[in-house]
């Protein structure tokens, strides 16, 4: 008897998995996929990405679509879990049969999904930060956000201008912090930087005064760099001020480039410098700046539709979507291979993150000019005039 029950249960489980929805295909639409971390620890990245994609796909469709076809956007939420992301990636490729993908909020989820898109030969424009995504270059993988290596280079460039060469590092042990720390250590010699102190903290720590005191007491220290994202850097910044270290120049990374960092760190954030995309200072850009139009339009559209302040993370999704759409227009086709070839030929694309010039050896296409050096003054971002 028990076995009969067993049989029934198993059949029910089987039937259940079969009953999962299987979409119909229409001739006049083309499917674009996305797997984002809309919930979970990376939701502050994934949520603006999700809203941006939905907002602009609607706008594109209202304007007649791409190459005579309407876009159909399929978004799945991986909750920041790389294993789930991998499953959803398989689902996009096998079940939804998307022609291209714009997504992958974190480096972890992106790295887990890469093999799926490489095997299926479907272009994948990632929204993750780390340089591993595009180095080594993979045929079908592209990305829009600046790399952590570029952030280090931008900071070191600024330090060099100020004649500061002995630096202390305090980095988070999370993926972002660990990866950026490694890149900073690697490129430091190219800029004549000497790392005199190297401390780290766990992303959930609530006090970093111990590490900062050690850095403060390092002989010859001239500046401090904090690779990290989330709330960690805000605490580091507060502790930094509490220890009276404000006289030592302090650099944050592009990982804190959102208004909430200034809110969390408060007055302690005054004088902190960081490299960030033009999007944060759109209204302060000179009128002849090539990015001025794109960033102010995106900011207005996003803030009008969501009633939330714009963040650079949503901007990455904007750039990814439009690089793809332009490539589809040029290819005038829904063939994944042709779209990939056109994405690689992207030249002079003006996005929120910078001006993109891709090539077979560069699947990011941004140079250091994409980053602006900002300084926090009066609770707001300010452009650091070049040369100061």
């Amino acid at each position: 008897m028990k076995s009969q029950t067993t049989l029934k249960m198993m059949l029910a489980a089987g039937a259940f998995s079969v009953a999962m929805s299987h979409g119909a295909h229409a001739q006049d639409t083309v499917k674009i996929g996305s797997v984002l971390s809309v919930t979970g620890p990376a939701s502050f990245l994934g949520e603006p990405e999700d809203k941006t994609l939905r907002l602009y796909v609607d706008k594109i469709n209202a304007a007649g679509g791409v190459a005579g076809k309407k876009l159909e956007l399929v978004i799945y939420d991986d909750g920041g879990d790389a294993n789930k992301a991998r499953t959803f990636a398989t689902r996009l490729v096998e079940d939804d049969e998307v022609v291209a993908m714009v997504g992958g909020t974190t480096t972890g989820t992106t790295m887990a999904m890469i093999p799926v898109f490489e095997d299926a030969e479907i272009p994948f424009i990632s929204l993750a930060g780390a340089i591993e995504v595009i180095d080594p270059v993979r045929k079908f993988v592209f990305k829009t956000p600046h790399t952590d290596k570029m952030a280090c280079e931008k900071i070191f460039e600024d330090l060099k201008k100020r004649n500061l060469t002995k630096i202390g590092l305090i980095s988070g042990t999370d993926g972002f912090g660990a990866s950026m720390r490694a890149q900073c250590v690697k490129v430091a010699p190219n800029y004549g930087m000497e790392i005199v102190a190297d401390e780290n903290y766990s992303p959930r720590d609530s006090d970093m005064t111990a590490q900062l005191t050690k850095i403060k007491n390092t002989a010859g220290l001239q500046a401090v760099v904090n690779p990290g994202f989330g709330q960690g850097p805000a605490i580091v910044t507060r502790n930094y001020a509490q220890l009276g270290m404000n006289t030592i120049p302090f650099y944050q990374s592009h990982g804190v480039a959102s208004k909430s960092f200034i809110d969390l760190a408060g007055a302690a954030a005054e004088g902190v410098r960081l490299p960030a995309a033009a999007l944060l200072v759109g209204d302060k850009l000179p009128a002849n700046d090539p990015q001025k139009k794109v960033v102010t339009e995106y900011k207005q559209a996003y803030e009008a539709a969501t009633k939330q302040p714009v963040s650079t993370f949503g901007g990455h999704a904007y750039d990814g979507l439009f690089i793809l759409v332009e490539a589809m227009k040029r290819a005038n086709s829904t063939d994944s291979g042709k779209i990939r070839d056109e994405i690689e030929k992207t030249k002079g694309f003006v996005g929120t993150g910078g001006i993109v010039n891709m090539s077979p050896t560069d699947h990011l296409g941004l140079d250091l000019s994409a980053f602006r050096m900002l300084e926090i003054k009066g609770g707001d971002w300010n452009l650091v005039a070049s040369g100061s």
Partner: protein, 315 residues
């Protein structure tokens, strides 16, 4: 005894038939991928169920062993030149040794204290994995070399469906058999009352430790299988949330029921996939379904439903 043997054989035969028949109705390899995930989660859960359901000990850090298995097959071939196949066995052995060493002192604890101790073990292992980035690639994870068996490269959702299905069959067979051995009966005596078990001569400490080691080996092998299947692994798989997920599978499916672990895994793996159509209500519904099923089926899905059918049949 003959009847028991039959019943065990029948359960296994049904499982084999289900594994064999499902591919006939799968429209794409995405379904093979989801089913393989069910088999892997079920394998880990069956092991944990031996500890929780049969021996009555709780473990809130079981993903640690899953992580050890997964990282063994990632680190072994990449850094130490160990063939993937051997790395899987080494991972299982490592998990068994760790479970033995750690289990000896902590299994003396009871209730909340045991739960906290296993939780601590899980957190520690996850911490080591995400900090030792030179070996493990840190929080972003690391790639895993493909498994090759006798020159045959095991890859693709379809292949892994059969490999994980076969692993699940073996795991189920061992667990079902164990249930009817003196060891299995000792486990159940432990579960019901430790004092009574001790009085009738069951070596309580030894059997607890045995259950813990068996559960660790199951989780380790499941972890290795997932790492091979994904070709990529990150510390989430060894993390606290994954431990909780394994416990949820066991409790939802039914404590002490081997089939329950498979059903629990099927529900917990396929439900999030099926609920994506509800977008933002996805997590709300998932939680609701689990709460409602735990309220109405307190002893778990399989034991509750089979109890219901048995009562109907008698009436």
């Amino acid at each position: 005894m003959g009847a028991l043997l039959n019943q065990r054989f029948l359960t296994l035969a049904v499982l084999a038939v289900v594994i064999a028949v499902l591919p006939l109705v799968f429209p794409s390899s995405y379904y093979f991928r989801v089913a393989s995930l069910v088999w892997v989660s079920a394998l880990a859960a069956i092991g944990l169920n031996i500890l929780m359901g049969q021996a009555g000990q709780v473990s809130l850090g079981h993903a640690a062993f899953f992580g050890i298995g997964a990282y063994s097959v990632a680190i072994g071939p990449a850094h130490l030149g160990i063939p993937p196949w051997a790395a899987l066995s080494i991972g299982a052995a490592l998990s068994a040794v760790l479970a033995y060493l750690v289990g000896r002192p902590i299994l003396r604890l009871k209730g909340h204290y045991l739960a906290i101790a296993t939780l601590g073990l899980g957190v520690l292992v996850a911490l080591v994995i995400s900090t030792e980035s030179r070996w493990t690639g840190g929080p972003d994870g690391m790639p895993v070399e493909r498994l090759t068996l006798f020159g045959w490269r095991v890859s693709g959702s379809y292949t892994w469906y059969w490999v994980t299905g076969a692993l699940l069959l073996v795991g189920t067979w061992i667990a079902l058999n164990l249930d009817e051995t003196p060891t299995g009966r000792a486990f159940r005596a432990l579960h019901d009352s430790e004092v009574a078990a001790q009085v009738v001569g069951v070596d309580v400490a030894r059997f607890k430790l045995q259950a813990f080691v068996i559960a660790a080996v199951y989780a380790s092998i499941a972890g290795s299988a997932l790492a091979f299947m994904n070709g990529f692994i990150n510390p989430d798989q060894a993390g606290f949330l994954h431990s909780v997920e394994l416990v949820t599978i066991v409790v939802l499916g039914g404590l002490g029921s081997v089939v329950g672990s498979i059903v629990g895994a099927a529900v917990l793996v396929t439900l999030p996939q099926a609920l994506t159509v509800f977008h933002e209500y996805e997590h709300l519904l998932l939680g609701l379904i689990i709460i409602v099923s735990m309220i109405f089926m307190r002893s778990g899905i399989v034991p509750s439903l089979s109890g219901l059918f048995l009562r109907r049949a008698r009436a």
